[in-house]
């Protein structure tokens, strides 16, 4: 590995593919950088080359009446949102690092916020991509129409691939019209069981809320934040129902402020200690949260009640953080879920690997990786199956 990093900022897909092909020929390792907001994920080490996607930006196609948008992967999600807003539409994705995150990074890191309750995750909204590959070619997966089963759904493999298969240069998403009304509530509970029971009642109720998240940060109280968007009568109904579920469980409702934004941004704040991210069967979240609440190093917990994705921020003595993080990953596996150390302080890197256990199907993942990147140059240290 050379001491100096070569930076490349390709202007288009073909140039990007050429950079990759040269790197593969010379066996030089490559890191791909959007805004760099998620560079903490993975067991990463310095690479020979860094490819920036900032010039692969801009709206490529947006026909409002088709409810789709095609953009360059280096475009920031916030900038896509601004363009769509002018047409009365929005991209139903609210990933953390909301101001900086790029489209490519959000796809590669499978980065989701709290809206997946209603609209689904990156995998549900992405309908097409173009990728620059290590053999110097550019391939297209999916398409630009909302329904398409021609050939394999390679987009799914790219979501969460962390750049290990190629550089995403362009992406097409489904978008939606901005709803007419919006409202929500935030409630406090003494007992976690009550907070989760209220959340569960909300997601099983008649209304389809946009977000339904349970949180615990400072102090012993648990908070539930619920947001609904839609036509005025459906929003009123959703919030009324949620308020009733809260009251039935001795919770106290208040008007919703920016709590959901704060909850979503936990990964951005969790600079010290360790951040564990678990994906659990829905009904396992309450017990998992109880387990987390008893840990010495618990600093904050954010549980998306609609998806079963729970993040736990651990802070304090290194030994305690490591012990608690390992306990949580084990707890996730025991209930049939999975997890990773999404973020950890620099001094914990060598002791807490992002993916301490291999996922099922790791040998297939390795074969896929080897066929897309036979020289093994792309994003070393960011494969869950390595």
């Amino acid at each position: 590995m050379s001491a100096t990093v070569t930076r490349a900022i390709p202007a288009d897909a073909a140039e990007c593919a050429r950079v990759l092909a040269d790197a593969a020929r010379d066996r030089r390792t490559v890191r791909i950088r959007g805004s760099g907001t998620k560079s903490y994920i993975g067991d990463i080490a310095p690479t020979d080359i860094e490819i920036g996607t900032s010039r692969l930006a801009g709206v490529i196609d947006h026909e409002p009446a088709d409810l789709t948008v095609t953009v360059g992967a280096g475009m920031r999600v916030a900038d896509v949102a601004a363009v769509l807003a002018r047409a009365g539409q929005f991209l139903p994705l609210d990933p953390p690092h909301a101001d900086e995150a790029t489209i490519g990074g959000v796809i590669a890191a499978n980065s989701n916020g709290v809206w997946r309750a209603r609209y689904g995750a990156v995998r549900d909204l992405l309908i097409g991509t173009r990728i620059a590959l290590a053999d110097g070619t550019v391939a297209r997966a999916g398409g630009r129409v909302v329904k398409n089963v021609a050939g394999y759904d390679l987009d799914k493999v790219l979501v969460g691939s962390f750049g290990t298969l190629g550089v995403i240069v362009e992406a097409t998403f489904k978008v939606l019209p901005v709803p007419a009304a919006s409202d929500g509530l935030v409630a406090r509970f003494v007992r976690s069981a009550d907070a989760f029971a209220a959340a569960d009642a909300v997601i099983r109720g008649a209304s389809r809320v946009e977000a339904c998240v349970v949180e615990r940060s400072e102090g012993p109280a648990w908070r539930l934040a619920v947001q609904a968007r839609g036509s005025a009568p459906t929003v009123k109904r959703a919030v009324d129902d949620a308020r009733r579920e809260v009251a039935a469980r001795q919770g106290k409702s208040n008007e919703l402020g920016d709590e959901l934004g704060q909850m979503r941004e936990l990964p951005a704040r969790a600079i010290d200690g360790a951040l564990v991210r678990a994906s659990l069967p829905l009904a396992a979240s309450p017990a998992f949260a109880e387990t987390a609440a008893r840990l010495e190093s618990l600093a904050a917990l954010v549980a998306d009640a609609a998806s079963g994705v729970v993040r736990v921020h651990l802070l304090g003595d290194d030994e305690a953080v490591i012990r608690d993080a390992e306990a949580l990953l084990l707890a996730a596996r025991v209930v049939g879920g999975s997890g990773r150390i999404e973020r950890r302080a620099e001094q914990l890197r060598s002791r807490l690997s992002t993916w301490p256990t291999r996922p099922n199907g790791d040998f297939l993942m390795r074969r896929i990786k080897d066929s897309f990147d036979p020289a093994g140059i792309l994003e070393p240290g960011r494969s869950a199956f390595a």
Partner: protein, 467 residues
């Protein structure tokens, strides 16, 4: 054959000529006879069979109910057809986790019926849902009228157990929404039986909507109906279903189902909104107004469950009703951006005229997924099917040129594998091939599907028109 019987027992293997004939066709137009048919009763049976086929280098062709519309279950290169008819149980209904675990041979509608007492349902509702299987749905990534708002099969599957062509049994995903590493569940859904055999499926269950409003609107021509679709979407309304039907289709349906569609309409829309009761009438009223603004001659709101059922029975029975018009039909499944509906529908009509065949249209208008039913009569000679296919190819070419796809839900199968280069460049297909080689390096799973094969595709040498 003898080896299979020794391995699995006589009652799980079919080899007699008359038995094999039942497995040479599906819902589409191509046929081929299998060398043997196996009816496994467990994952262990499937794994043993795969090991056997791997050892003897015999192709494996999975089969659900055989309702597929792209020849996916047809053993075009011979081999063993694996029917999942005896693996059709619901293994678990997990209400707290909003999941069900099922075997692949389970019939789609049986799942929703079984979970309805819990106030839940399985969203994907192909019009064939009384017959098609969950395994087939997973393989085709099937859609249906109500997948417009709530997503297709891939959005509702979180875990699978699969058997690879070498007999390896693998569990991927589970009840959680995602796992670490590449999304292999997502890669497998829609792979048309070419990556492996799915032996168990974990699906999401969704709370049933509190209520629905169903609207049937009749228009003078398909143009007004198409423009209404765009106008509704532009107004920010997202119905759970928007289906369209032309006059020829309506006439066939009325002759067989008596759904109550007006026979003099040039185009009909069937629309549904569902969700919390509050707001439904508001949405319905807005839809009604938009329909009338676009010259609807009649707008009828279903007065209750019975009338709603009747309106839907017409739509869901539409393919079967084609028998009233013609002994055979060839259905295409191209997708276009919604805004292109009016001009592509005109082009569909012209293609029919050019090839001297009638074309009926019954389709998922909300997501731009066409289903032109090209009517032909095979008794008049092989030329009829040839002309139907030629008309179909013209339509698909137009769909791709409009920025769309050759298939929205029926799959590529053996019917459209030669057309893949219309939509994809060699580098796109090469990327897909990498996935195939990872799962099935020996190429034994459902060969002759999805990818163009030199032997059968020689006559189709088109350059990609892909954008």
């Amino acid at each position: 054959m003898r080896g299979l019987v020794a391995l699995l027992g006589r009652e799980k293997v079919l080899g007699a000529r008359e038995d094999l004939l039942l497995y040479e066709y599906d819902g589409a137009v191509d046929t081929a006879t299998p060398d043997a048919v196996v009816l496994p009763e467990s994952t262990a049976d499937v794994a043993a069979l795969a090991r056997f086929c791997h050892e003897h280098r015999v192709p494996i062709v999975p089969r659900g109910a055989g309702t597929g519309l792209s020849g996916g279950a047809i053993p075009v290169e011979g081999g063993v057809v694996v029917s999942f008819a005896r693996m059709a149980r619901i293994l678990e209904i997990d209400v707290p986790n909003l999941r069900a675990v099922v075997q692949p041979g389970l019939i789609n509608l049986h799942l929703s019926t079984a979970v309805a007492p819990h106030g839940l349902y399985f969203v994907p509702d192909p019009s064939s849902q009384k017959a098609c299987t969950l395994g087939g749905n997973v393989a085709e990534n099937s859609g249906g009228p109500h997948t417009l708002a709530y997503g297709v099969t891939t959005n509702h599957v979180t875990g699978i157990e699969i058997v690879l062509s070498d007999g390896t049994v693998l569990r991927l995903g589970g009840k959680a929404v995602e796992d670490e590493g590449y999304d292999l569940v997502g890669a497998f859904v829609g792979s048309e039986g070419t990556l492996g055999l799915v032996t168990e499926i974990t699906v999401k269950l969704t709370p049933l909507p509190e209520d629905k409003r169903t609207v049937m609107a009749a228009f003078p021509t398909m143009d007004e109906a198409s423009e209404t679709v765009s106008a509704i979407i532009a107004a920010g309304i997202v119905p759970s279903a928007i289906e369209m039907m032309d006059q020829l289709a309506t006439q066939a349906v009325e002759a067989s189902v008596h759904a109550g569609y007006p026979l003099d309409a040039g185009g009909i829309l069937l629309l549904e909104v569902d969700g919390p009761r509050d707001g439904l009438d508001d949405a319905r009223a807005r839809i009604e107004k938009i329909c009338r603004d676009h010259l609807a001659s009649e707008v009828r709101v279903a007065s209750g469950a019975l009338e709603r059922e009747r309106l839907w029975a017409g739509r869901k029975g539409a393919f079967a009703a084609m028998g009233r018009l013609s002994p055979d039909y060839y259905v295409q499944d191209g997708v276009i951006p919604r805004t292109r509906l009016p001009d592509i529908l005109r082009l569909v009509k012209d293609a029919g005229v050019r090839h001297r065949l009638r074309v009926a249209n019954v389709f998922h208008a909300g997501d731009g997924n066409l289903h032109p039913l090209i009517l032909f009569d095979s008794r008049l000679g092989p030329d009829e099917l040839e002309r139907a296919k030629a008309a179909g190819l013209e339509i698909l070419t137009a769909c791709v040129e409009a920025g769309g796809s050759i298939t929205g839900e029926h799959g590529v199968g053996m019917e459209k594998n030669c057309y893949m280069p219309l939509q994809f460049q060699p580098s796109d297909l090469a990327a897909m091939r990498r996935l195939k080689d990872a799962f099935d390096p020996d190429g034994l799973m459902n060969p002759g599907k999805i990818f163009p094969t030199p032997s059968r595709c020689r006559e189709f040498a088109f350059a990609s028109t892909a954008r």
